[in-house]
């Protein structure tokens, strides 16, 4: 009956035996990893890492990062993204970026990164030098055409072009005759990222049709314009990526036409809630649950959680022991001891000395 599953189970039992803490430190992977890293910084038993091969300026404030990953990196599908982790002043920080090229035979990957104000990773990525080592996650995301035969529409704006280029290159590489229309908007002709690359692809492959839309001359890309450019838009499977406003326009257009199920949108991570210093209370959501509770301004998250009937672990309640340390997924908090205001993204906070400045999501 279970002839097929048995060897697998045995393997995992062997593996469990080998990983048992009884054999520590001989089986501590972190320790072996450090030794491997000392020999070659790219080597790792557990981490996907990559060597920076080159940096290319694509447009003002936009650079492409060519990376050569190590063997721990398991590859990606066009349209997916990856967490790029850099060490910034001693602290590891990671952000999501889309692959901007299709998978290649030489294993190189390309991430295209636009410098953001208040974006520590995008900022530090601009300063990388060839030869440096960065950490990667495995590829993530389900953003991809569902079938290779269906007619496709790619709608993007700004740096939303990156996953589209990866998908488009893949269509070209596989020399499929999939009918693809791409509409991309940028501010003006000069700062459209990858304009040349897109044009070249469109010229080379007749099944790819390209419209570049410059908002400086033609205004924002509206519903009427899309229907004019792509009359058969409501027969196409659609992929959408770009800034919030643009995505909302397209999403409501598809909702109106009852075509929402043929539209896939991609936006990066949680959009952190805006800071609201005048609010008297803030909503705190808990990761992976529908539960939420309310914390008053100036009240610590620990007290708020307890008032809501939760029982987070705590110790000293004065910010020294870190028993109540918890991962904040998004939102801004103030440290009650130092008055420092946190960033909007993922970081560790101490519940007993943090008070919310915005809606918060906690891994509690």
């Amino acid at each position: 009956m279970s002839a097929q599953t048995k060897p697998k189970q045995r393997l995992s039992r062997v593996r469990r035996f080998l990983r048992h803490p009884l054999w520590a430190p001989l089986n501590q992977r972190e320790a072996w990893d450090r030794l491997a890293t000392a020999v070659n910084p790219l080597w790792s038993l557990m981490e996907a890492r990559a060597r920076v091969v080159k940096l290319i300026d694509e447009a003002p404030g936009v650079k492409s990062l060519w990376l050569k990953p190590n063997a721990r990196f398991k590859g990606f599908r066009p349209g997916q993204h990856v967490l790029l982790e850099l060490e910034i002043n001693g602290a590891r920080q990671a952000r999501c970026f889309s692959f901007s090229s299709a998978p290649r035979a030489d294993g190189l990957i390309r991430l295209t990164i636009k410098q953001k104000t208040n974006g520590p990773v995008s900022h530090a990525a601009q300063g990388l030098k060839p030869g440096q080592i960065v950490r990667l996650s495995q590829a993530q995301g389900e953003f991809a055409p569902r079938s290779a035969s269906q007619k496709l529409l790619l709608l993007s704006a700004g740096s939303g072009v990156t996953p589209m280029l990866s998908i488009l290159q893949n269509v070209a590489n596989e020399t499929s005759d999939q009918d693809v229309v791409m509409v991309h908007c940028g501010h003006n002709e000069n700062d459209i990222i990858f304009a040349d690359e897109l044009r070249k692809l469109a010229a080379q492959y007749p099944q790819i049709k390209l419209f570049l839309h410059a908002t400086e001359n033609a205004g924002r890309l509206k519903e009427e314009k899309i229907t004019a450019l792509v009359p058969d838009w409501n027969e196409r499977e659609t992929l959408l990526c770009g800034p919030d406003g643009f995505m909302q326009t397209v999403e409501s257009m598809y909702a109106k036409a009852g075509r929402s199920e043929f539209l896939q949108s991609e936006s990066f991570g949680h959009r952190a809630a805006p800071i609201d210093p005048n609010a008297t209370e803030h909503v705190i959501r808990r990761e992976n649950t529908a539960q939420a509770f309310v914390v008053l301004s100036g009240q610590s998250l620990l007290e708020g959680a307890e008032a809501a009937g939760l029982q987070p672990k705590f110790g000293c309640r004065r910010g020294i022991c870190r028993s109540c340390q918890c991962k904040k997924l998004s939102g801004t908090v103030t440290n009650l001891l130092t008055g420092q205001i946190s960033g909007p993204g993922e970081e560790l906070i101490q519940l007993c000395i943090s008070t919310p400045q915005s809606a918060i999501e906690l891994a509690l």
């Binding site: 803490p21 009884l22 054999w23 520590a24 430190p25 001989l26 972190e30 320790a31 450090r34 030794l35 000392a38 060490e87 002043n89 001693g90 602290a91 590891r92 920080q93 110790g315 000293c316 004065r318 020294i320 022991c321 870190r322 028993s323 340390q325 001891l337 130092t338 420092q340 970081e347 560790l348």
Partner: protein, 361 residues
């Protein structure tokens, strides 16, 4: 010469608090790559000396390699416990977002379970420093170090108890958070006791297996020298860490507090208690590293989550603040301070009487 317990109040207390807060903030804003580099370097030294120490013990020939192996392994254990483990578990390096250096998941090379330590040390000891009855580190429930503690005839034997604790220090630390005394006196249910004992048995079992079964066995016929070498390395670590830790809170001039004294304590008063309840050791950079910077016990107790090498930087400024507010800053060389500890242990083995403590305000 015993110094007086200093109390501050009103504006002076507020200013004192503000100065220390500002100092903490200043260092906090400067934390970064330098600290990350430091802890990674320390971890590399630990790993290198552990590998070479254990290697020499297992595969070396002759007494010289044996002694060298013991030195290597002792160094690894001392540095790992004190400069890496203790400080990482305080959250000093949580800013790095490195899962292998995270305070809540780090596990160290000692028989004491990490979770127990985080509770008894980070929560109880650092919060309630030197408050009799609340700080279970004060005398570890077996030593009488002040007149306010109860004397019984068996207290006369406390120099002997101290000697036994010193050579078995890691076991003392390991059973500390189980609070066996409360169970023996019937103040703890068996179910709770079992819950507290299990992590201890698990962790100490793994440590015993590692040092006295696994590594000796891997050395085949050389197993006796590995077993004995590991035993001695653990002994050296025990005696050293015990000496340093006793110098931190039990030197002659260190003050103790009663529960009543700390009612409604402000942050400034808490700072004051941390300073007067701790004592520093003077020495070279390597001495500080080998103590895990607990030689800067005062700075550590003021700011337990600042990366430890920063304590050396801010010590002169803390000392200056203390001087200006008339607070005794207890510091001295190792032998002077340790002699003070031994004197205190012997002195209070006798039924010393409680005299009214002079207090300066």
């Amino acid at each position: 010469m015993a110094s007086h317990k200093r109390r501050l109040s009103g504006v002076a207390l507020e200013k004192f608090e503000a100065e220390l807060d500002a100092l903490r903030l200043e260092v906090l804003n400067d934390i970064g790559e330098r600290d990350a580099k430091h802890i990674r370097k320390m971890r590399s030294i630990v790993q290198a000396s552990a590998i070479s120490g254990r290697g020499l013990l297992m595969f070396g020939v002759g007494p010289i390699s044996w002694v060298a192996g013991i030195i290597g392994l002792s160094l690894a254990k001392i540095l790992e416990n004190m400069e890496v483990g203790h400080n990482v578990m305080h959250g000093q390096y949580d800013f790095m977002n490195d899962p292998s250096l995270n305070s809540q998941t780090y596990e160290w090379d000692i028989v004491c379970d990490g979770e127990h330590w985080r509770h008894s040390h980070n929560v109880e000891h650092h919060n309630h420093t030197n408050i009799l009855g609340l700080d279970h580190d004060f005398g570890y429930g077996m030593l009488r170090l002040t007149e306010s503690q109860k004397w019984t005839p068996s207290t006369l034997l406390q120099p002997l108890w101290y000697f036994l604790l010193a050579i078995n220090f890691q076991w003392g630390v390991a059973v500390h958070d189980i609070k066996i005394g409360r169970f023996v006196k019937g103040r703890m249910k068996y179910s709770e006791f079992r819950e507290r004992v299990t992590p201890f048995l698990k962790k100490s079992g793994l440590q015993l297996f590692k040092d006295y079964v696994l590594f000796p066995a891997l050395a085949f016929w050389q197993w006796p020298r590995v077993l004995l070498g590991n035993l001695i390395a653990n002994l050296i670590r025990n005696v050293w860490t015990n000496a340093i830790i006793f110098c931190g809170h039990f030197t002659e001039d260190v003050q103790t507090y009663t529960r009543k004294e700390v009612e409604n304590e402000t942050r400034g008063q808490w700072y004051l208690r941390q300073i007067q309840g701790s004592s520093n050791l003077e020495g070279s950079r390597w001495f500080h590293l080998m103590t895990g910077h607990l030689s800067h016990q005062i700075e550590h107790h003021l700011f337990p989550d600042l990366p430890a090498p920063r304590y050396a930087d801010i010590a002169p400024r803390v000392q200056d603040i203390c001087q200006r507010y008339g607070v005794h800053y207890n510091t001295g060389g190792f032998w002077k301070q340790y002699a003070g500890v031994l004197v205190r242990i012997v002195k209070h083995a006798w039924p010393t009487k409680l005299r009214a403590q002079p207090v300066t305000t």
